[in-house]
């Protein structure tokens, strides 16, 4: 009996330390335990913001400090509240170098640290930034930017036209080869410079000299275009034109961008700390011409969305980006539902047709399929409200959006009528129809089955689904000869000018339109007006008219815009929600965000 007791005791001794260890060091929990319940309820109950922040701060510090080995108290501070906006980000960025970055999670960091010649305002209009004004010549082939006087970097050093010339040069340089380099290909000589071979020194230097960007004086940047480009002032707002300092890049070598000291910026905030996979902090740049209201920003990286939600609830985050799978739970949660916002992103997805392949070479058949799409149910039920339905091409919030487009909305009768009017007359006469989709995302199958079922239910058409790895799907979609009869696809905007949506995609000489076998001379004419006129209002009107023609022609039946979605602590105010704000609301106009205690 005694032995047995000893054994039992031994077992307890073995298990206890593990439980205690997993339960985090006991001394740590002692002070936290009293405050923890308050903090938890405070976070969940969306108690008045005033109550929330103070509760969080004290809990945070005692819990964090011992964990952190008390040696270094200042580092425990960044997650505490105050006038710093704490933003949840999912994946840690691969590279944040203005001329090399290509993902929005990278660009959002750069856009706080730097500023281009122009910037986007809360309506996605292009407004003066480092340049106080710009002017096109008559045929929109030369654009002259005049910088604000006395511009400074965050370290106080002067920012001049040469810094922007360097940005353009570095972007077009084949030695840089950033994935977004082609966005400046309207600039004379940029395409040539990008395809020059670095080792062929003479040709490389000639290509570099041929680049159409110059600084006649410290306050003037002149850009020579390869063809008319009256939208180029918007392109000048993009991250590829951010003036990272040449000496810092050359001194820091390939990994210069990892050092906050080398990322001397001219934007509203300044990198202050970069801790890989954990957190990136910014402080306000007081040398910026339009000082921000916040003291700083913290981008906090949490891959696991459940952990991120817990961090939000315990008061460690101000903005939380839910995973699509969490949307129903967030919407049903009494507290979170009122703090949840969702708005259209700068993307459009629709049902894409190969307009050269039967039966979709017949406009009436395309109409029948467009009418048959129940977009609302698709977004609400199949995609968990991760999207909002649309009937037009340019998303809401982007210049050129057509709010009046109502054609081809879900209408079973119209769908049947269109099919009856087609050259085939009925569903039985249609040839075999295959819809291709990428199997990489497991959710894709259910999504496509829903669409296929819709066509069966509404039109009586059997659509065969063909699931392939996404690389095979994109390979097939690169050529009209192999382009699938039916597929879902669309466009993600690069910059908020209708040219990027209409001409880049639907002009009959654009690769994307050609792949679908689309082209309409009447639309091309209108795009030409938009692509060459310097009258911005006339341009937008021309693109909108072209868009009407394209929607009528139905190379694509627009279905939905994926949404930007966040849970935002009510202490945060003054943020904009444009389609381009896809990492946090107000990212492009972060100077106006404030935190009210």
């Amino acid at each position: 009996m005694r032995k047995r007791m000893i054994a039992l005791f031994a077992l307890l001794v073995l298990i206890l330390p593990v439980l205690a260890a997993c339960g985090a060091a006991t001394p740590t929990t002692a002070p936290a335990a009293t405050t923890a319940p308050t903090a938890a309820t405070g976070g969940e109950a969306t108690a008045p913001p005033v109550a929330d922040a103070p509760t969080t701060a004290p809990t945070d510090v005692p819990a964090a400090a011992p964990t952190d080995a008390p040696a270094d108290p200042p580092t425990a501070a960044p997650t505490s509240a105050g006038n710093v906006l704490r933003i949840h980000q999912v994946a840690y960025p691969d590279v944040f170098d203005p001329q090399k970055s290509s993902y929005s999670g990278e660009i959002v960091l750069l856009s706080q640290n730097y500023e281009g010649l122009t910037r986007l305002d809360e309506n996605l209009e292009t407004v003066p930034a480092a340049a106080e004004s710009w002017e096109y010549n008559a045929d929109a082939t030369v654009i002259t930017f005049t910088l604000r006087p006395d511009l400074k970097y965050s370290d106080g050093s002067p920012l001049t036209a040469e810094n922007f010339v360097y940005a353009a040069q570095r972007n077009c340089d084949s030695a840089t080869a950033g994935e977004y380099q082609s966005i400046l290909f309207d600039l004379a000589g940029c395409a040539d410079f990008a395809s020059s071979v670095v080792t062929d020194t003479a040709a490389y230097d000639a290509a570099k000299a041929g680049l159409g960007v110059s600084a006649p004086d410290a306050n003037t940047v002149v850009m020579q275009m390869a063809q008319p480009a009256p939208y180029f002032h918007t392109v000048a707002s993009l991250w590829v034109m951010y003036p990272a300092k040449q000496e810092m890049i050359e001194k820091g070598g390939e990994t210069w961008w990892q050092d906050p000291e080398a990322q001397i910026g001219n934007g509203p905030f300044q990198f202050s700390s970069i801790v890989e996979d954990q957190q990136i902090d910014f402080v306000r740049n007081d040398n910026y011409w339009n000082p921000a209201k916040l003291d700083g920003l913290s981008f906090i990286y949490i891959d696991d969305s459940s952990v991120a939600l817990e961090a939000y609830k315990s008061g460690q985050l101000d903005i939380f980006s839910p995973d699509p799978s969490q949307i129903p739970a967030v919407q049903e949660d009494a507290e979170l539902a009122s703090l949840y916002v969702a708005y259209e992103g700068a993307n459009t997805t629709g049902l894409q047709f190969n307009t050269k392949l039967a039966p979709f070479d017949d406009l009436k058949v395309r109409e029948a399929f467009a009418y048959a799409l129940d977009r609302e149910t698709y977004c609400e039920v199949i995609r968990n409200a991760d999207c909002l339905q649309t009937l037009t091409w340019i998303p809401k919030g982007i210049p050129g959006y057509d709010a009046d487009e109502t054609r081809f909305a879900f209408d079973e009768a119209a769908a049947k009528a269109a099919l009856a009017e087609s050259s085939y007359g009925s569903a039985d006469a249609l040839p075999e129809i295959t819809m291709m989709y990428a199997t990489n995302d497991p959710a894709n199958q259910a999504r496509h089955e829903f669409v296929a079922n819709t066509f069966r239910d509404v039109l009586g058409v059997e659509v065969t689904l063909q699931g392939l790895p996404s690389k095979d799907v994109s390979a097939a979609k690169k050529d009209n000869a192999t382009y699938p009869q039916l597929s879902l696809g669309g466009w993600i905007g690069d910059y908020p000018d209708p040219q990027n949506w209409v001409s880049v995609f639907w002009n009959s000489n654009a690769t994307f339109a050609q792949r679908q076998g689309y082209g309409n001379p009447a639309a091309d004419e209108l795009m030409k007006v938009g692509d060459t006129s310097t009258d911005q209002a006339a341009r937008i009107a021309a693109y909108q008219e072209a868009q009407k023609i394209i929607i009528g022609d139905l190379p694509i039946a627009p279905m939905y815009n994926r949404v930007n979605k966040y849970v935002i602590n009510p202490r945060v105010t003054g943020y904009a929600m444009t389609p381009a704000d896809d990492q946090f609301p107000g990212q492009w106009s972060s100077t106006s965000i404030s935190i009210t205690e």
Binding site: A39, P66, A191, A311
Partner: protein, 337 residues
């Protein structure tokens, strides 16, 4: 012993080469490339990037370079061999031998694979060693207790712990522990940013979850191996000699039942120290496990190769250590080698 060690270390080289070959082959079978994105990259840029990363070269051997060189009158066999090996695989192996695992594609070539490993591996190593220590320190006694007190409450407890450890996936246990710590103890998910710089309490929770599976495995293995040894003749002999319980258990039973446990420990520790994608994501550990998994999806060829070779090297070292330890546990094995 020294000769044995040298022979075993040399044997690692062909193993690594074969691993490199197979990984390279499989990697090239997967469709797509590192520069494929949701938004298409301009063909001119892709061409420049392919040239920079040597992806414009043939995959295995470069016959065109050889014929070009011989056309130019090059007769030096070394130069010709180098031209022959001026392929993606050939260049990779030649650079890897010199310690250069190549630039990562995800960083747009700004970082080298060995730098990423150097930076992130220490964190995974600390976490993995803690997890391994935990697995052994808890698993071993639990298994012994289970065997000595077979079919008693201790045995059942050890069985329950082991079953949970094996069957509940880490994304469940990890998340439950995170939520439990946050709600009950107020240990919030976001740790101070320097929490991972050295050993700190931040490692404990992820180490518990990471070591759970191995712990369960060790428990069961120890138990069954102890039970087997318990019935051996030499144990009966020892007891007949009148040896005390303690000596029989520690000197005879335990030592002899350690062989299978030590065998799995080598590869298990290698697995633990290379991190876990899931645990790193849940506990926000900036370790190397994330790179291993992420590189495959993004077709980061050099990272895939570097990570696989590094893992293979660790497994080889783990097995080597196991072989050395065998000698101490069982003299019969030592004499054979």
């Amino acid at each position: 012993m020294i000769g044995f060690l040298i022979r075993r270390i040399l044997a690692v080289i062909p193993v690594l080469f074969v691993v490199a070959f197979i990984t390279f082959f499989l990697m090239k079978q997967a469709k797509g490339g590192p520069f494929d994105q949701e938004k298409e990259v301009n063909p001119a840029t892709v061409k420049t990037l392919n040239a920079r990363f040597g992806l414009d070269k043939p995959t295995w051997i470069n016959t065109t370079a050889v014929s070009r060189a011989s056309d130019q009158g090059v007769a030096n066999p070394l130069t010709l061999t180098r031209a022959f090996l001026d392929s993606q695989f050939g260049n990779y192996i030649i650079n890897a031998v010199q310690g250069d695992l190549g630039p990562t594609y995800s960083s747009k070539g700004t970082e080298n694979v060995q730098d990423v490993i150097k930076r992130k591996f220490p964190i995974s190593l600390r976490l993995g060693l803690l997890a391994a220590a935990l697995a052994v320190l808890v698993g071993l006694p639990l298994g012994i207790l289970g065997a000595l007190k077979q079919n008693t409450i201790f045995d059942y407890i050890s069985l329950i712990v082991a079953t949970i450890g094996t069957s509940v996936p880490t994304f469940v246990t990890g998340l439950l522990l995170t939520l439990f710590l946050s709600r009950v103890f107020g240990v919030k998910p976001i740790k101070p940013i320097d929490a991972w710089d050295g050993y700190s309490t931040a490692y404990i929770a992820p180490a518990c979850i990471l070591g759970l599976n191995t712990m369960a495995y060790i428990t069961r293995l120890t138990r069954s191996s102890m039970l087997e040894v318990k019935r051996q003749d030499y144990i009966r002999t020892a007891r007949a000699k009148g040896m005390g319980d303690r000596v029989v258990i520690t000197r005879h039973m335990l030592r002899n039942s350690m062989i299978p446990v030590v065998t799995i420990l080598g590869p298990a520790v290698a697995g633990l120290v290379t991190g876990s994608f899931i645990i790193e994501n849940i506990f926000r550990v900036p370790g190397i496990g994330d790179e291993f998994v992420g590189s495959i999806g993004s077709r980061d060829y050099s990272m895939i190769m570097g990570a696989t070779l590094f893992f293979a090297l660790l497994v080889a070292l783990g097995n080597l250590t196991v072989d050395v330890v065998y000698g101490f546990l069982d003299p019969r094995i030592r004499s054979k080698s």
